[in-house]
Amino acid sequence: MKIMTQLMTEDGIRCDGRRVDQLRNISIKVGVLKNADGSAYIEFGKNKILAGVFGPRDVHPKHMANQDTGILRCRYHMSPFSVTERKNPAPSRREIEISKVLKEALQPALILKDFPRTVIDVFVEVLQADGGSRCAALDAAAVALADAGIPMRDLVSACAAGKVADRIVLDVNNEEDQEGQADMPVAIMPNVGKVTLMQLDGILTTEEYKTCLQTAIGGCRTVYEIQRKALVEKYFESGDK
């Protein structure tokens, strides 16, 4: 096995200088795309992600329409320049999976019954990727949906936790994701108190699993406050422009 970069010092400082329970810097901007019905831009550490929401609108192709309820479509896409080696812009296996995962994580929060025969399209474009992009994408998409005025039971907040150098850490970055022992992205609806996404890549003991999940949920709650602040800033604090 090749010699790894040291992921954590003995006093628990991680490779990017964070403590084990510290998130990366997160900033969210709402309403950045003029032509979309709702949009958001998130910087989650070095992740830079744009999310745009269109709809509710007519479904094309028509056979996808559901007479009883609206449908949700998600597209997660990484720009060719988002990673160090040029990425082929065609949707990869991984992107197709994440699109599906995002859709299933957002769907429980949306009240689609109000819009039968229509579709809500969510487009997520990763401009720069740095580990944990599915969580960041989910955070941006949830804010963009709220910006579009789609009725929602709750926002969706997501954050990952993982196991690095035998310790449970919050918000795994790219290096830790590549060389760490486990990665667990979690998304919750913070007010409803339900988990909408939980994946686990790696091996954890039962004890570790429990701590990891709790750590991730704690991170989600911090993210929720940032999402909330971004929405409040756009809608309630631009009184005098």
């Binding site: 509710p56 609108r57 007519d58 819009f115 579009a148 005025g149 009725p151 609806m189 007010n191």
Partner: protein, 234 residues
């Protein structure tokens, strides 16, 4: 007015709990009442609702809307009503009962691209909205300027008991037709009044969430203070 409690909310915020009646844009879980959109919550006489600040137009029966003809079928016109649903205007509504698709040509009356003021006659979740022009002041719009504003801001443009729209109409001598779908037609005989009225409508759209808006619009239009005193500042 006294016991209205207002608060800024985002989706998922618990507005209140207890024996209250959930109305628009909220849902009930247990005894908690939770907001479903970004907006301003109101608790009034045991009813809880949220006035949305964003979102698309959802047709309601009896709404006045402004639609644009986008197509025809043998028996009806199809309208873009700035919503996720397409509005239908049956041909009989315009031609009368003896309409016959072989004899009458729909495009003679309303062509693609025409603007029409119509009322939503019927709408439920199983069918697209049905429009009607069988009323006073409804029908094809021949002249004027079309402005699009956010449908959630239409109530603000009308104002309490029509105060805002009256202020603008009186100050500019313009005729303003407001569709609940956020499409507005302004017509005026002199061009200066038209431009002023358009500017005022756009100002309301941009500053809809700010207090004292009627006063601001008045000062922009140059209406002297103290006129039209029945406006309410909130």
């Amino acid at each position: 007015m006294m016991d209205v409690k207002r608060r800024y909310v985002i989706p998922g915020d618990v507005i209140a709990s207890g024996p209250l009646r959930p109305e628009q844009n909220v849902y009930q879980e247990g005894d908690r009442i939770i907001s479903t959109c970004v907006g301003i919550s109101e608790i009034f006489e045991n009813a809880v609702r949220v006035i949305p600040l964003t979102g698309v137009y959802v047709p309601k029966t009896n709404d006045l809307v402004i639609g644009k003809v986008v197509g025809t079928s043998p028996l009806s016109w199809e309208f873009d009503i700035n919503s996720c649903f397409i509005g239908f205007l049956p041909a009989q509504d315009v031609f009368g009962r003896d309409y016959s698709p072989t004899k009458d040509e729909l495009k003679q009356r309303l062509n693609i691209g025409d603007l029409v003021a119509a009322r939503v006659a019927n709408f439920d979740r199983s069918r697209d909205p049905l429009l009607t022009v069988q009323d006073r002041d409804l029908g094809k719009i021949d002249s004027g300027e079309l402005i699009e504003i956010s449908p959630s801001k239409v109530p603000r443009l009308i104002g309490k008991r029509g105060s805002m729209i009256q202020t603008i109409e009186m100050a500019t001598k313009a005729m303003i037709t407001i569709g609940q779908n956020g499409w507005i037609v302004v017509s005026c005989e002199n061009s200066e009044g038209l431009l002023k009225a358009i500017e005022a409508v756009k100002m309301v759209d941009a500053l809809a969430h700010t207090p004292n808006l009627t006063e601001r619009v008045k000062s922009m239009l140059g209406v002297p203070e103290g006129e039209n005193n029945d406006t309410i500042n909130d």
